[in-house]
């Protein structure tokens, strides 16, 4: 229960922090931390305009997208605190429920019959497809490491002892961040601030959404960010007492946001044709982690 509240809370200013960092980095004054949230609220108040090409799919897709993200948050624990629900193999549920959301966002993009949105959709589908194995192998290796198959059990029984486990943790964090980047379609895979529809992925998919729906989608985006932040945080919180855990959590979320901001302001987006290799590289990194785990457990004979 605690996690979902925290996630919602952090999601309020997460994107704000990113924007702020970027504007500072580029020497601008920039909007306030809560600007994105304000935008969203305004959007909720607006009316909507739908393309006459679109069908029912286009209308329900944003809702489903949003709900899946929220659903996914339910299984995320907070350190030793359980999530709202926790069961064996809940990370499978986590991944698949997000996939459901993606499915609908893709077909809603295709629903508009615009070639640009189709382009975005196909990229989105491809990249997420490549990203999934990385995530599963990563969690799998930690499941092996801890001997549990649910988020909560894994994180609560995860204690990084030797130096090698720290490197594993580091690698895991890196992979997770990257996955988060892909899922939230940020640098270096996608650039939300580009001006050319041809080079967008996520932004171009929602070109035709407006009003309430757009609001939902953006909100979902914020929550997603915070959610992944939470997972990363869980890696390091482990079974700390709440008094330490809480600030640590916030700190991690903050640094994560800043990191994203910095990356976005000092890096250029990869070429589209290079993205698949990059994403597949993540899978191999997570496989590396898996081997590391084998090393730790002395499975090598």
């Amino acid at each position: 229960m605690l996690t979902i509240i925290l996630i919602l809370f952090t999601s309020l200013f997460f994107t704000g922090i990113i924007l702020r960092t970027k504007s500072i980095a580029s020497g601008r004054k920039g909007p306030g931390i809560f600007q994105p949230v304000k935008d969203v609220i305004r959007l909720f108040r607006k009316g909507a305009i739908y393309s006459e090409t679109t069908s029912i799919i286009f209308r329900i897709a944003p809702v489903i997208y949003f709900s899946t993200v929220v659903m996914a948050c339910l299984v995320i624990p907070f350190g030793s605190e359980k999530g709202v629900v926790s069961f064996d193999g809940d990370f499978i549920f986590f991944a698949y429920v997000l996939a459901l959301g993606k499915f609908f966002s893709i077909i809603s993009a295709m629903d508009t019959g615009s070639s640009f949105e189709g382009m975005g959709a196909s990229r989105e589908a491809l990249y997420s497809m490549f990203a999934e194995p990385a995530f599963f192998i990563l969690i799998g290796s930690f499941a092996l490491f801890t001997g549990n198959t649910s988020f909560h059990a894994i994180f609560s029984s995860l204690h990084l002892g030797s130096s090698i486990t720290y490197t594993l943790g580091g690698l895991a964090a890196f992979v997770l961040i990257m996955i988060a980047m892909i899922e939230n379609s940020r640098m270096p895979v996608d650039d939300p601030k580009t001006h050319l529809e041809l080079t967008m992925i996520h932004e171009v998919m929602i070109l035709d959404n407006s009003g309430f729906d757009l609001g939902l989608i953006l909100t979902a985006g914020f929550i997603k960010f915070a959610m992944y932040g939470a997972i990363i945080a869980d890696f390091f919180i482990g079974s700390l007492a709440l008094s330490l855990a809480l600030p640590l959590f916030l700190l991690i979320q903050f640094t994560y946001a800043v990191l994203v901001g910095i990356v976005e302001s000092f890096m250029a987006r990869f070429r589209m044709s290079h993205n698949p290799q990059f994403i597949l590289a993540l899978s191999s990194v997570s496989f590396l982690i898996f081997l590391g785990v084998l090393l730790v457990l002395e499975k090598f004979v």
């Binding site: 393309s51 809702v63 064996d88 193999g89 077909i107 295709m110 382009m119 999934e132 004979v301």
Partner: protein, 673 residues
Amino acid sequence: MINVLIIILLVAIVAILLVNTKSQGIIAVSTVIVIALLSSYVSIKALFGSSYEVIFTGTVIFGKVPVIVDALSAWFILTINFTIITGALYGFNYMKKYREKKNEITFHSIAYLLIYIALLGICSVQNGFIFLLLWELMALSAFILVIFEHEKPDTIKAGLNYLVQSHFSIVFIMLGFIYVAFKTGNFDFDAIADFSRQQSVMAGTALFLTFFIGFAIKSGFVPFHTWLPYAHPAAPSHVSGIMSGVLIKIGIYGMLRMLLLIKMDYTTVGYIILFMSIVTGIYGVMLATIQHNLKKLLAYHSVENIGIIGIGIGIGCIGLGTANKWMAILGFTGALLHTLNHSLFKSLLFYSAGNVYQAAHTLNVEKLGGLIKKMPHTAILFLLAAVAICGLPPLNGFISEFLIYGGLYNWLYSADLISLIAIVFSVGGLVLIGGLALLCFTKAFSIVFLGNSRENHHEEIIETGFWQLFPMYMTLSLMVIIGLFPNMFINALQRPVSLFTHDTVFNFNLIKVGAIDSLQTISWLFGGLIIFVLAIIGLRKIVSRKKIIETGPTWGCGYSNATSKMQYTASSYVRSYSKVAKPVLDIEKREVEVVKIFPTEKHYETDPYDKIERIFIDYPLKLVNKITDLFAFLQNGRLQAYILYGIIFISSVIIIPVVFDKIAAILHFLNNL
């Protein structure tokens, strides 16, 4: 009971031969339903305890014929019954468009009944010889069903291809039975058990692998899958539905039956099956993604799903081999449940494809589009089936895949290095399959049903009638029920699974084996998800009550008059994918590049082909032709030559042994030197 069924069948066939076309359909459907009710009654009893047994005294040649419906048979019979019924109902309405082809319809109805009986028989008969008879009866009647539209050469080609390959399968199975009979002098299934009791484990494994190949051909494991992508598009949609939903599952049944009977090195076999299945799954979905023909795409997805089922079986076997009970339970439960699930959503998908075909008279996705506005029911049904087949919540596909994942993660703890690698690759494979399926079905759905129509169809596209949609909704409802209340079905699976784990029937609710335990929670979550979605939709309604909701053209990014031709096409949707997957695929491109400043008609078309087919089918056929050509001179019409053959035969029979003796003598002499 059996006699009753046979009598009903014969009466029905005679009746069909007598009455007119319309009532033929009615008779067929009603017969199917009656038989289904009877067999379901028996099977349900078998599924919850008392299994049904009759033993006929056969002839001297093939011994006694036991007919036994145990829990495993029962599960498959029930699966078959449901799809057969929906298929019959759907087919009855589907065939209304073809009423003028009287003979074909007569033929078709009889074949439908025959294949149903054959399937039931295969699931229950326990005598190898009769099994073979029924097996081929099934193949033949399936062939008859497939070639309904026999004026098209492709249909005949597909049918023949199917027939020959299923003959290969029967050859392998036959060899298996002959081997058993050779050792034990008996054809019924007890003999197989005796065999594996007497012979070594190695022999058992060999025997199983022989059977496995036979059944793998039928159920379309890579590389034996090549008949599927031809047979399914050629057949009428309800036939594709039952073929992909039921027919290929009978192969799975065969494998499981043999697993029960034969004692073997389960671990090795498990690894073999697991490996083949992963390859099958990934290869199937990889080819599915690049297909343009909707039914062919679905056919390749059947291959993929067989792969998933196979992964389940493989895990189960390894579980048995390594005495990891929960793993075995999860594996087999997942496999069996996925068998049911796949038969549901795949038949539903084929039925929808059938509706599309009858409305638009084409299955080429590039020519379709925007159908959701014309035929909303079909679109929604297709969408939900697609969601299910991608294994996404909250539908049934997720449940079975979840169980299989559960098995894999359950394997982790008891695993050594090799099996850990195996696990990683299976998980990776399974996830990849999921991802590709998502890519593929987003493509299929959105190109066929969404956006605008890419071609103006000469006649008005209209939604199919209620009675044709009714069986589809039946299927859908069962899918939803499995998705939301999986535990009912899991409980039904206790007995079949406990046949494999060789222990007393256990109650899943009492034992706390990880994945199965969490199904309860998951069904809650699914419910929650649905409610949440509805709530938000409600909220949106409330919020945007007095807001202006208007419609306009799609935002063309500045370009004002976009046409439907400018929409994203299927090939362009998967282009980046096919570029990545080039080495595996085998796509023939034909394009006219833009040359001058004012370009003329430019065109670009791709034609996907199956690499494995090139290797395993086309090349051997070429070889056969080459060899036969070498001997074509024999019948050359020259009398002298004909006489010469006789002389050559006689003289060679006389001379060759002599020559051999001489050579042997010389060699002997040389050795002595």
